[in-house]
């Protein structure tokens, strides 16, 4: 069985005639943490949104577990979840309802079981006390942790993070990196993290890809990237 979780084959995407992703080919290895590093506006989030199916590539193929992504729904045949840069919590629902929404809407388990599952995850992430609060009452770091809890309740095979530390202070950034490393230690989730924070990327990744002008310039482990003399690293 292949150890490749996601394979991109010459994937391109344009918006209003502007090429954002330029014939990218790469592999994301199963159960590892991959960081995609790049400046703002280089197409990192677009790439991530194509993986989850929010955008369709103009050309090329995305293979997930060996099958073309268009045949999948994000949480249908396999479980993939996305943590938005803005957290994207539903502001009209409580934290607990935000976390159980997937189970509620797909009628997974009994109500009591959904709630206890959600509380367990919230407890692991240190935000159980906020279960009955509204998202508007939470800090940026707590909102991000609720978004992670909402993703974890799906029990995902693949977890995608879009700028998980943007707008966060160093303490919350450290908390997020601890969560990612804890999930990495479990060894059953492929995590793909888009970020422009190079220090954060070094602290969590097995492999790092540098994206610039819609193309991947280098891919390698953090040590390889650190030793690289590519001038783009200075500008990130």
């Amino acid at each position: 069985m292949s150890d490749v979780s996601i394979k991109l084959k010459e994937v391109s995407k344009s918006f209003d005639g502007k090429l954002i992703i330029d014939t990218i080919s790469c592999d994301f290895i199963k159960n590892k943490v991959h960081a995609i590093l790049g400046k703002s506006g280089t197409g990192k989030s677009v790439l991530l949104k194509m993986l989850i199916g929010l955008f369709k590539p103009d050309s090329g193929k995305i293979l997930i577990n060996g099958k073309e992504a268009e045949h999948y729904k994000s949480v249908g045949d396999f479980k993939m979840s996305y943590i938005f840069q803005s957290s994207a919590l539903l502001n009209s629902l409580t934290v607990l309802d935000n976390v159980t929404i997937f189970l509620d809407e797909h009628n997974v388990d009994e109500k009591e079981s959904r709630v206890s599952k959600a509380l367990k995850i919230l407890n692991e992430l240190g935000i159980k006390d906020s279960a009955n609060k509204m998202p508007s009452e939470l800090s940026g770091g707590m909102r991000k942790r609720v978004a992670i809890a909402r993703s974890l309740i799906i029990e995902p095979d693949i977890l995608l993070y879009d700028e998980p530390t943007s707008d966060l202070d160093p303490i919350n950034t450290k908390t997020i990196s601890q969560i990612i490393n804890k999930l990495k230690a479990r060894g059953d989730i492929t995590q793909i993290v888009v970020t422009h924070d190079i220090g954060f990327a070094y602290s969590i990744s097995d492999t790092i890809s540098i994206l610039d002008n819609g193309q991947i310039l280098i891919t390698g482990d953090p040590d390889l990237i650190k030793s690289s003399k590519n001038p783009i690293l200075d500008s990130i």
Partner: protein, 255 residues
């Protein structure tokens, strides 16, 4: 040219959303709690203002028409005139305009905000259909609320007309004479005509508001633009539908 294209695209998108909403009615059971919440919310937003509008319309209509009729000694016909005008035209149109202004605008603002802040995208990544989750409960609640609001406005409009007719010395028609004439002139099909209109208005308001909200893109400024667009589009569709439906109801003999 761009404006015409935008209007045609908007109509197409609304019709597509209507079709998707009708297709999702089979999932109504799972949206019951959201439907009930919307029903109460819409009622709370509209019922007090609707009473004020209906009372005022009935009263002004009776005052203006009653004084003219009394000049010809025909003031005893006031009940039928007020009754018919309120139930076939004024109540459904004013209720729809109230619904578009108070409920439609709030639906658009909420959905546009959810689009702009990626909440809709988050639902999609969890394989939760935004049409079933967001549009269906609002569509069905609007479909129930508006006809009920029309019946409510009919009754209060008639009350307003009857009170003015009996209390104004130039008109001086007793309550019993007013309602006696009203019951002779207004038939069940007249009341049904107003309700039929309101059903179509409800479809137009809910679908227009949801469609414009869901398609909002960009930053927070787009939320305000979407609300304005939604209210204007709803008002225009109410007025156009009103004419078309009146012609149709006359043609089929209901009016």
């Amino acid at each position: 040219m761009n404006t015409i294209l935008a209007i045609i695209t908007g109509i197409g998108e609304s019709l597509n959303l209507l079709w998707l909403t009708i297709k999702s009615i089979k999932y109504f059971g799972s949206s019951m709690d959201k439907f009930i919440f919307q029903l109460f919310d819409m009622g709370n937003r509209t019922v007090p203002v609707a009473a004020l509008i209906a009372l005022s319309i009935g009263a002004v209509l009776a005052l203006q028409t009653g004084i003219q009729l009394s000049n010809y000694g025909m003031q005893d016909k006031i009940g039928g005139i007020v009754g018919l005008s309120v139930c076939t035209e004024l109540a459904p149109v004013m209720a729809a305009i109230l619904m578009a202004g108070r409920v439609g605008s709030s639906i658009t603002a909420e959905l546009a905000s959810m689009s702009v802040y990626e909440e809709i995208a988050a639902l999609k990544t969890m394989n939760i259909d935004p049409v079933r989750f967001l549009v269906l409960p609002r569509f069905l609640a609007c479909l129930i609320t508006l006809p009920v609001l029309v019946i409510y406005m009919d009754l209060i409009g008639w009350l307003g007309g009857s009170l003015v007719s009996s209390m104004n010395q130039s008109i001086s028609v007793s309550l019993s004479s007013f309602y006696n004439d009203l019951s002779q002139v207004v038939t069940f099909s007249d009341i049904a005509a107003g309700i039929i209109k309101s059903v179509f208005f409800a479809i137009a308001i809910s679908i227009t508001s949801c469609s414009i909200g869901l398609l909002a893109q960009g930053g927070p400024r787009e939320i305000g633009h979407s609300v304005t667009k939604s209210v204007v589009a709803s008002f225009i569709s109410i007025l156009l539908l009103d004419y078309v439906l009146t012609r149709f109801l006359i043609l089929v003999g209901i009016l």
